[in-house]
């Protein structure tokens, strides 16, 4: 039964993601809102990323943690660089939880996402540079980042919903 549910949810996800035009804007089918990412091309084709992003991330996380390999490709930090920009409409509007690429899709698909219980939800790239190099970093640190609390609550909400579904 669980497997069937999984398959079903995957099929629904694939359908809705690949054919948003099918349901259309303002249609009856609820769709996840996928914020536009920075840049033109992801590290792999979209289809590959949809299916295998978790494998790439898991492999890279072990290489980074245990061997100190810190290449940007497949790193969670690099994902957030493009998909959760520090500056821009997401941060400025304070709607991080609503506009978070990862969370939106995971909430929609009903798949628990554990990354952000520990990992930062936003990039902070400029902070690792000396202020002389990036004068913006000081300003960034001063910005309000309480939105991640909202996001965390939302993630917790996801797991509660999941438990509810399992009982039915």
């Amino acid at each position: 039964m669980k497997r069937l549910l999984q398959l079903l949810s995957m099929a629904v996800l694939a359908l809705t993601l690949s054919a948003p035009a099918l349901a259309g804007e303002g249609g009856r089918t609820p769709l996840p809102s996928i914020p536009a990412a920075k840049g033109d091309q992801c590290v792999e084709d979209t289809a590959v990323m949809r299916r295998d992003h978790m494998k790439f991330l898991k492999h890279h996380r072990d290489a980074t943690m245990h061997q100190g390999i810190r290449t940007e490709k497949y790193s969670l930090k690099a994902c957030l660089e493009c998909h959760a920009p520090v500056e821009g409409n997401m941060a400025a509007g304070g709607k991080e939880a609503e506009g978070h690429f990862c969370v939106n899709c995971h909430v929609y698909a009903g798949v628990t996402l554990d990354c952000f219980e520990c990992h930062a939800t936003k990039p902070e790239t400029t902070a690792q540079f000396h202020p002389l190099v990036s004068p913006a970093s000081a300003a960034l640190k001063a910005t309000d980042r309480t939105d991640s609390t909202v996001l965390l609550n939302r993630l917790v909400g996801v797991s509660e919903n999941k438990a509810g579904v399992a009982h039915e």
């Binding site: 219980e117 520990c118 902070e124 540079f129 000396h130 002389l132 965390l152």
Partner: protein, 249 residues
Amino acid sequence: MSDHKQPDLARREFLGRGAAAAGVALAPGVMLYGVADAKPADEPVSSKVRWGMLVDTSKCSSGCNACVDACNKEHGLGNETHSRDTQRTQYIRKVELRHKFTGATHSLPVMCQHCETPPCVDVCPTGASFKRADGIVLVDRHICIGCRYCMMACPYKARSFVHEALTEQRPHTPRGKGCVESCTMCVHRVDEGRQPACVEACAADGSHAIIFGDLNDPNSEIAQRVKTYASSEIRADLGLNTGVRYQGL
């Protein structure tokens, strides 16, 4: 260079991004560039290197908390709201020692000592507590189950447990509820060829009490110093061969 009084900021920014590592100001006008020492990002760490620290206790003054503050800031520590003070995470703390007979006092920072044979790694049931090839002892939070055996095993009381859900983490230091954590020797900085935050802060403060470097490299400052001057480990009787050593204890 002398005719450039003001560095070209745009160019600096570009170079900084390209090299993924930038300079560290030791003092106004004095920059330390670690780019040359950084290993390529795609290369695994090697056991040819043994990172270590040497603390000169004669230069470490009582009441100075620069290293602790820098550490807390670097790793985004101290944002627990429900935990008691004794539960809050600390990667580094200042310890005051007084010899009962002579009355001699010492003030020294104590953090994870990055043992060669770490007891925390011995007792970890999941393999989450591990030592990197270059001698840095870490917790892999992806596999930590929060059993806290390592906290019991550590003779230096270096590890902390996160008791509550956290937000506002720094990107380079993921932290979360239910995991044990400790000093990482600023592994994210070391991999970029930079110095740990405490070392940098101590130097910026003018104390220069902590130096960081490769104990295996005979030409490094730290190797020279431990060769020339008497230094000791805390609880040397345990035979752990710590990476953090103290001079003047």
